[in-house]
Amino acid sequence: MAEVVFFLAALGALAGAVGTVTLRNPFYSVLALVAHLLSLALLFLLLRAEFVAAAQVVVYAGAVMVLYMFVVAYVGGTDIQVGPVNSRVTTAGAILFGLVLFVELTIAILGTGLKALGTEGVGIGADGVARAGDAGFGTPEQIGELLLTKFLLPFEIASFLLLIAAVGAVTLARRRGGLGDPSGTTITPLDLVRPRSTGTMAEGVGGRRRITTQEQERDGVEAGVIDSGLNEASEEQ
């Protein structure tokens, strides 16, 4: 039985991988990768890693792929028209998929995970030696115990890394010229080096932009156009 499930999951993983690489539409590639991640979660379950399998489904296929889906819908690439929007087949398929996901999560929760909690059964400890009273292999209890005792420093560094990534994403996606200081009296160190209206990314890539009236009033800059100077260099060639 385990061999049958292994071959099904391995085929699903390979088909999802091939689909991710070969499909032309990036939307379909994301869907193929979701199928690949779910097959991989099944392989993790076969390897007695039930917490990692649940984390894979919830975090990877659930959150990261949804993020990808949003960005693919925004940015695109080739045409992203998937099919008829309110088809009954897709609705029925979505409900069936939700039921299957619920059954899988229930099995993961009510499986060997709960059996090992609070019993004195034999488990495989953190050093590989089986002894009574340890948490079962791959259960959330053992993962939690390891994360908080032996791997505390990597755990804290990983949370710090998540904070850095979140701040970086906000910095990359923000717009320049947001909420300014209404009185205009605060001075940042960058103001000593360059004028307040310059230094945008658009100027850096060679764009030119008109000075807004807000900047004329606030900074006293004359009306005109800010140019990065790269356009003259390209016109010379």
Binding site: A2, E3, A10, A13, L14, A17, V18, T20, V21, P26, S29, L33, H36, L37, L40, L43, F44, L46, L47, R48, A49, F51, V52, A55, Q56, V59, Y60, V64, L67, Y68, V71, V72, Y74, V75, G76, G77, A126, D127, G128, A130, F137, G138, I143, L146, L147, K150, F151, P154, A158, L161, L162, I164, A165, G168, A169, L172, A173, M201, G204, V205
Partner: protein, 99 residues
């Protein structure tokens, strides 16, 4: 199920992902193929963790998932910023990270 089967699947998925990274031009799909490679490494880690009965491999796999999520966040932020600047979403056109 012998452990070699899982390692073979991991190696296959890794090479498919590597081929995809080198072949595709859309940076979104390149990031997806990168995810394939990370997942194959996760599978190998979990397989070895099961072989030795040591749960350290599973902790490693969880940390790899965290790092992959962070990298996806920043990569997608860069792609969205590129799109906002009206630059072509094509890695053959964009060879320099400037501005």
């Amino acid at each position: 199920m012998a452990i070699e089967w899982y390692l073979v699947v991991s190696a296959l998925v890794f090479s498919i992902g590597a081929g995809g990274v080198m072949t595709r031009r859309n940076p979104l799909v390149i990031l997806l193929c990168l995810e394939l490679m990370l997942n194959s490494a996760n599978l190998a880690l979990i397989a070895f963790s099961r072989m030795y009965g040591n749960a350290d491999g599973q902790i490693f796999a969880i940390v790899v998932m965290v790092v992959a999520a962070c990298e996806v966040t920043i990569g997608l932020g860069v792609i969205v910023a590129m799109y906002r600047r009206r630059l072509p979403i094509d890695v053959d056109e964009l060879r320099e990270l400037q501005g």
